[in-house]
Symmetry: C2
Subunit: 665 residues, 2 copies
């Protein structure tokens, strides 16, 4: 008779295999090898409440090796989450709660969407940052209302990805002691043994980052895993990597072979596996009652753990009513009442201002009202204007600090911002040059897929950057970001639009990025409230034609709005009545109803769409009688103003384009 | 009196500072601190010929910290490259040869475009791979015709970037002993001391990767630098990192401060710096004749070194005429005569085939004719069909191998492919899923900016991927890649188009990527040569309407071509005569003349553009009387065929869209 532990572990293994066989698609290798360590973690350490997956002070568990999704679904099912066996039987099918890779928001208990390697690893670092910050801000003696771990299962693929290296270096620097990652060291990747490309000394590498590294020589040794997780707590100021030696496809005929990784075992090997593990051969999705009962204790334990926390919170509420009110509001995701009061207003007579500067002022005004607004830059804070001025840095010795130095690690920054956003309780942001959003793109995409309210400050948003040249001048990035479904790009035209854009970004459910100028722009007149009302709608009439139906509508965003206004004057001199539409966000504009959109861009009126960036995505807005003035080439190294002129972004050239369009029509 | 070395070093320093002052823009901190080490390297080690910057067997020098461009221009000028002082005076100005960051192809002697951090580091790894491979293939006893080093200057910012971590791990695994990187350890980044975020143990980290790590305690100690570079050669099977402790902004009032990094010193600090270094105060761009004479020896030494190599090659030509002929052709970049003969031809009766499978066959046929075609996958070779079947792996113990296991390191892979392409003599490629091109995007963009002939195999190109779900289904990637200027995307519709696309990719001057299906596609009939002739033109009439002027033109690429053909039949049943245009590449189509384009997409005929991906970039092709059937949402986890149908990519739905369009018009 096998032990109960072994029975549970084999249940996880075979539930995984059966899901994959049923779908005829999936990755059995990881679940077979890694089931024991996840079982030990979930059974003996993970503090969670399957009936309340959103309990704020739960431990977070991330399956960074998302291809092992079947194992996670087996764990969730066995622990009593609302994930019935029927859903496991519909693994990887349309509309199921068991998609091919874990998806946040689809399956209760899935904390992060994973699959693209390295992302879960780096996202967890953000969660641990959020935990450490909130604990420092809100915990009081006797009231550790924020006190949880962030665990992950990571694979060799995760560790090879650069984003994980960045995140590991950052986590080590920050001393995130409550971050514990189990490394499924199975020594097999898709192309074969890891010997063919991954021969670095992982232990040494993680020690170099400042991590505690522990080892489990046999991944099937539950006591050794137990001891390692327990030992991980001995270093409160170091994240821990537990290197667990496992065997991919354990127990199957494909054990220790790349063949076990990414394809169903097939009926024959599946049968052989069940035989070798002493499992009923003809009963797919078999769940021994003892295993179900044992792992199902998680529900009760979760109920108790959460109840204890609720009680703790009650005491906290009495002892620290102000803090408790604030804390409870934050974990609900509510913003402070009046959070958007006192935002700066800029007047034309104050003179021109770069939108990055305005953003810095808006950010600081918001941060004064939003106590857990926290973020930073990938080593470009002085240029991004991303510092919260009245706060210290977030460091090991100052967890209340709200300024994070992410280092030149754009990708880990974006993933960590996602992790903070998913963790909740904080209002996180990251900053870099728009051009370097490229480095972070996989994490930006995942933010969209998850609907994570991550905010990004992307300054230096066009060839207006100037002398730094084409390596630093975004041409393709706006289009590339707009191509991501549900990713909100805001490109304000002046300081006041920037403030309004920040308000949209803060309340947005999904990710939002502000594309901001390095160069100064004139201030639009906010007197009539048009800017504040217009920005949330994505586009609005900024300067109308002098007659009822304009001869032409010019629509532009960001720095090109001022150009459109100048062009409008030129056209007026030539007898052409032009309307200028400011477009801080095409995405928001598309969310408006037809009536509004037609009022702003009247059908039948010729349109000129203007943006100093790749024009490829703008033709859809130009309509049948329109043209696009864009930039389908790289920039160059020269002063920004000169560059704009040489590339045709100056009023006379644009006016000629407009006149040419009208002539053609 | 200062030593001659010091005079030369100060010349480099002050030429850098003066460039930046003249431009009123640039980064003086690095040149002031790092001038000594680069001077020693160039003066005593670098084997190059300033009069023949393209000499094949030169050492490569990469300024990975590209923001130090002024130092590189000073080095190039002083060593006798065709970069007169006048160009230094036009630093960062329109049309100069001294752009803000080094640009390959703009300035003689600049090997790689750098600036985005980590890229130069990773690109150099590719250069060292190319060198090691070509040396193994062509060198013969007494004839080391390929025998050079790859050097780089790297900064803390480079080392923080994930792409550098990936590349370092790969380089360590491959044992690239002729890779020597000098690390400008100045302990200052833009946000301040590196203590605020970069406290990892760099030495330990690089040792964990299998690198030799050497230290220079004082970066001004030329003899210590000399010894370190010399010692780097002692480990033939390990790359070397020399950690050189320097002081940013050395000699200036801003020394050891972040203020020295990215802004001109300003006239006062500039004057103070000149004073402290004993430099003439009122003579910008001062070049002491002794310094010029001393560093100018590089020209003579280069002439001799290259002449010796030419002589060596002559001997080689006599002793190994076949190898020599091949070698000389390769380093000229000429393809073998008949390289495109014997490529596979597929017939409809062979049954449907995934384009990734066809690509594997084409690749192997090409590799049999192109002896230095070399590449691999980021751990997805079995899925990418990217293995050269009759070749072993490229490893430390097998440098002739042509299959590189890049590991799960997409970003380093792309940068390394760039490095191989820039090095020359090889025909390099990299492979991964199209979705993971996101991880490599900064390197893909640089390939375009440099015009590097890098080839990429991007399989699993749509929601047709199926069960793996939205994390693995490209929706936004095609548009995102097409947004990069000069980046060629080829999305063939069947096996024969795939072969034709490979032919285009191999001969393309800049980067090219093949977007290929996981799922099988029917074979188009190649009998009339239409496919082979059409693919290089980007788009062609695949199936015409049954009457002279079609009622509608449907244009599609990749897997949607078969759908368009099926839709055409449906429309025919409804009395609508449709033309189907296959569009393997919109970029190639745009390169055609108006006559051809109008012949394929006749103006005035309604158009339906079809692609199972973000439609945002396709409206420009739809024209005033057109519509786009695309996918502006994420995919989902379900079998691929089902997914295509549910998302509307099936003939009845598309036919209805076409009929709707015709009705509206």
């Amino acid at each position: 008779m096998k032990s109960l532990d072994e029975l549970c572990i084999n249940t996880l293994r075979m539930l995984s295999v059966d899901q994959i066989e049923a779908a005829n698609s999936g990755h059995p290798g990881l679940p077979l090898g890694a089931a024991p360590m996840t079982y030990v973690l979930w059974d003996r350490y993970l503090r969670h409440d399957p009936q309340h997956p959103d309990w704020f002070d739960r431990d977070r568990f991330i399956l960074s090796a998302g291809h092992g999704s079947a194992l996670l679904y087996a764990l969730l099912h066995m622990s009593g989450y609302d994930l019935p066996l029927e859903e496991l039987k519909r693994f990887r099918q349309w509309g199921s709660k068991t998609p091919g890779h874990p998806e946040y928001g689809v399956t209760p208990g899935v904390e992060v969407t994973t699959g693209p390697l390295g992302q879960g690893f780096a996202t967890g670092v953000g969660m641990a940052i959020a935990e450490a910050h909130l604990a420092a801000v809100f915990n009081r003696p006797g009231f550790p209302v924020v006190n949880h771990h962030t665990y992950a299962l990571v694979s060799d693929g995760d560790l090879m990805e650069g984003v994980a290296s960045e995140a590991a270096s950052l986590a080590g620097h920050l001393g995130l002691g409550k971050l514990v990652y189990l490394y499924d060291d199975n020594r097999i990747s898709i192309e074969g043994s890891t010997d063919i490309t991954f021969t670095e000394n992982v232990e040494l590498r993680f020690r170099s980052y400042g991590w505690q590294v522990l080892r489990v020589a046999n991944g099937n040794d539950t006591e050794a895993v137990d001891k390692a997780v327990s030992d991980s707590w001995s270093e409160p100021n170091k994240p821990t990597l537990v290197i667990v030696r496992t065997h991919i496809g354990y127990g199957s005929p494909k054990q220790d072979s790349a063949d076990a990784h990414g394809a169903p075992l097939g009926s024959e090997a599946c049968r052989a596996t069940k035989e070798s593990l002493g499992w009923p051969l003809d009963e797919p999705f078999h769940v021994p009652p003892e295993a179900k009962a044992h792992m199902g204790r998680d529900r009760d334990r979760g109920t108790h753990a959460r109840a204890a926390w609720v009680q703790l919170l009650e005491g906290y509420r009495k002892a620290y009513p102000i803090e408790a009110e604030r804390f409870e509001r934050l974990i609900r995701g509510d913003l402070t009442a009046g959070w958007d009061e006192g935002l700066p207003v800029f007047r034309p007579e104050d003179g021109p201002m770069a939108t990055r500067s305005a953003s810095g002022k808006a950010l600081n005004a918001l941060a004064s009202k939003l106590p857990t607004m926290i973020g930073g830059s990938a080593d470009l804070a002085p240029s991004n204007n991303s510092v919260i001025k009245d706060s210290p840095d977030f460091q090991l010795n100052c967890r209340t600090g709200r300024n994070i130095h992410f280092g030149v690690r754009e990708h880990a920054m974006a993933a960590a911002v996602n992790g903070m956003a998913l963790h909740g309780g904080v209002v996180p942001y990251g900053a870099t040059f728009l051009i370097f959003s490229d480095y972070a793109r996989p994490a930006l995409r995942l933010a969209s897929l998850m609907g994570a309210p991550s905010r990004f400050i992307f300054t230096h948003d066009s060839i207006g950057v100037g002398e730094d040249g084409p390596t630093h001048q975004p041409v393709d990035q706006l289009l590339s970001l707009r191509a991501i479904p549900n990713f909100l790009v805001l490109r304000p035209a002046d300081a006041n639009e920037t403030v309004a854009a920040w308000k949209v970004a803060v309340t947005r459910k999904g990710p939002a990025a502000l594309a901001l100028t390095r160069q100064k722009l004139p201030i639009l007149d906010p007197a009539d409230g048009r800017v504040a009302a217009g920005v949330p709608r994505g586009a609005y009439v900024l300067a109308d034609a002098d007659k009822e139906t304009p001869d032409i509508v010019m629509a532009a965003g960001g720095s090109e709005v001022a150009l459109a206004l100048d062009t409008r004057k030129r056209l007026s001199q030539r007898g052409v009545a032009a309307r200028v539409v400011s477009v801080p966000s095409w995405e928001l504009f598309e969310e408006q109803d037809d009536e509004y959109r037609d009022a702003v861009l009247p059908p039948g009126v010729p349109r000129l769409i203007l943006e100093a960036a790749s024009a490829k995505g703008l033709h859809r807005y130009a309509g049948p009688q329109g043209t696009v003035v864009g930039l389908d080439r790289f920039g160059a190294s020269a002063p920004g103003g000169e560059l704009m002129k040489r590339m045709g972004f100056e009023p006379d050239t644009v006016a000629e384009m407009a006149l040419g369009l009208l002539k053609r029509l």
